[in-house]
Symmetry: C2
Subunit: 324 residues, 2 copies
């Protein structure tokens, strides 16, 4: 079938979303809206920690980065978010139907990239295992989204339920990135498992730090939506901590606020006070510290070169201390 | 990761869409809203035409049927269609965000089914080839959707452009179903190609007959949206035939009608008159006949058993003559 031309209709939006083109689909000579590329870097890191030539795992890293970006396009549509990475979200430019299609195309292209692993000498069994892992992770991410939608309508969420949700929604892909890199690099299952576990804890550190920044960070720095997570009624970890510990009276106050359609500055102030009174920020930071230690513990189980061990630990430190 | 319970949230909607459950997610003892299952049947047919045990290709047939159903869930959201297979569409029951997620989950589950081919003795190389073909087809279907969205805003579409659109949107998956079945059943490339070509022509027959039924068929029988394709401003093949052949005056009339936001009975009558005056139905039927012959020509290139040849030809006849 011909029709290479038609891919143009989605190519512009595709390149815009991953930060390589502007709103008129012109290529940017100096792309700077691509995101952190954390997940693809982790895939290459795990592979390189076990092998000399990291380039061999590049198709998997691309697949993972595209899978992540596909989920962001669809998330933005679902949440009606208007800003990401300091720019307008895709659906606000081309409308929901076409943004939906761009996302789905990116999903398929992600997987098509995996087949290039074969050209780089990865055997078919491993390519299949890697793609199977990615599909399962896709499903986990969707489960996380479903839980997230469910939690929006409730304040009866405890810490464990929240952690389960972010494990599906966020940590699963971070863990999968490392597991795929390791899987391509070794046949030794305990090593693959340790990388996967390192990723799960890393994912929690990442998400809980995001939760802190979403309330106490500067939106100009994070480049996320203009408004604070509280104004967006996101029940993130610090909120859950407050709900678990606060007085029945404060619980009623929060409950009333979260029943409102939209929140204002006054609501924000009240919620911030309850968070303060219950040391929510401190408790979240404590939990991040605990997850950071668990991540490093897993890393210590793997016998890797000094540079790889140091890089893996530095990343944990970076995620704990970042302010954007 | 645990969380099997959470899949329940999508399992009901999933089973509802494929016709196995009712609106309360209760399993139906006698499912009768599952659609024709044409594509999965074609996959099994091609495999069985070349092999004894059709059960071996079953995971691929399931993958194909789910891929098709995934695209229907997302299509219904995009087009805001409210009825499919005599029932409410999924998004009207659970809302757009959750329907979107159900579709994406189905997409991933489709591909996960392919891995079961390994357990049935299909080698890894073929599993990879089959999944590669399915991904490419996913992309083709999206290209078709994009063209379809584009054509909605224009009456400057000629027959070839329309055929290209339906080749992407509809014929590609029908062709892929046969190609995957053949690919799993033989190493002989010309046979795989002939099945794929048979599928392309079959897809055109299928879609153009759909176009006729969408205007002249009874909606009660087809189970599609209540309204006629004309009222939905769908520029299907008969409309394109009329636009190509009609007087400049009639072209202006049509153009005016298609600029309207919504069409009424009077517009419908006018369009029907123009279609009549330009023998649009007859021209479409002629083209279907031509495509049917081309399909059978491809079938004759393959040396298959008498029953398979007869079944393949009977299917063409059935698609040409169906009235639902």
């Amino acid at each position: 079938m011909s029709g290479q031309n038609h891919s143009r209709d989605l190519k512009g939006p595709f390149l815009y979303h991953i930060g390589s083109a502007d709103e008129n689909w012109n290529l940017l000579s100096n792309p700077n809206h691509s995101g952190k590329a954390l997940r693809s870097a982790l895939c290459l890191y795990a592979f390189h920690a076990l092998n000399d030539y990291w380039e061999k795992a590049l198709p998997a890293a691309i697949a993972i980065e595209l899978l992540h970006n596909f989920s962001l396009i669809h998330d933005d549509i679902q949440d009606h978010d208007t800003e990401r990475r300091h720019r307008r979200t895709l659906w606000t430019i081309i409308g929901e139907p076409k943004a939906l299609l761009t996302g789905s195309a990116m999903h398929s292209i992600a997987y098509l990239n995996l087949f290039y692993l074969k050209d780089r000498g990865i055997n078919e069994e491993k390519v299949l295992l890697a793609s199977q892992l990615l599909f399962k992770t896709s499903l986990d991410m969707i489960k996380g989204q479903v839980l997230d939608l469910k939690f929006e309508q409730s304040i009866q969420i405890n810490r464990n339920q929240y952690l389960e949700m972010i494990d599906f929604k966020t940590s699963s892909l971070i863990s999968c990135s490392l597991a795929v890199g390791a899987l391509l690099g070794t046949d030794h299952k305990p090593i693959i498992k340790a990388f996967a576990q390192y990723g799960l804890h890393l994912g929690r550190v990442f998400q809980l730090k995001d939760d802190i920044l979403g309330i106490w960070g500067q939106s100009r720095v994070t480049g996320k939506s203009e408004s604070n997570d509280i104004l967006r009624k996101k029940k993130s970890f610090p909120i859950i901590c407050a709900l678990e510990a606060c007085t029945p009276k404060d619980r009623k106050v929060l409950s009333k606020i979260y029943e409102k359609q939209t929140l204002g500055q006054q609501d924000l102030d009240v919620v911030m006070e309850v968070l303060e009174a219950n040391q929510s920020k401190g408790k979240t930071e404590e939990f991040i510290e605990f997850e950071a230690l668990s991540a490093i513990e897993q890393l210590n189980l793997i016998h890797i070169d000094g540079w790889a061990l140091k890089d893996g630990k530095d990343l944990v430190d970076f995620l704990v201390n970042r302010d954007y």
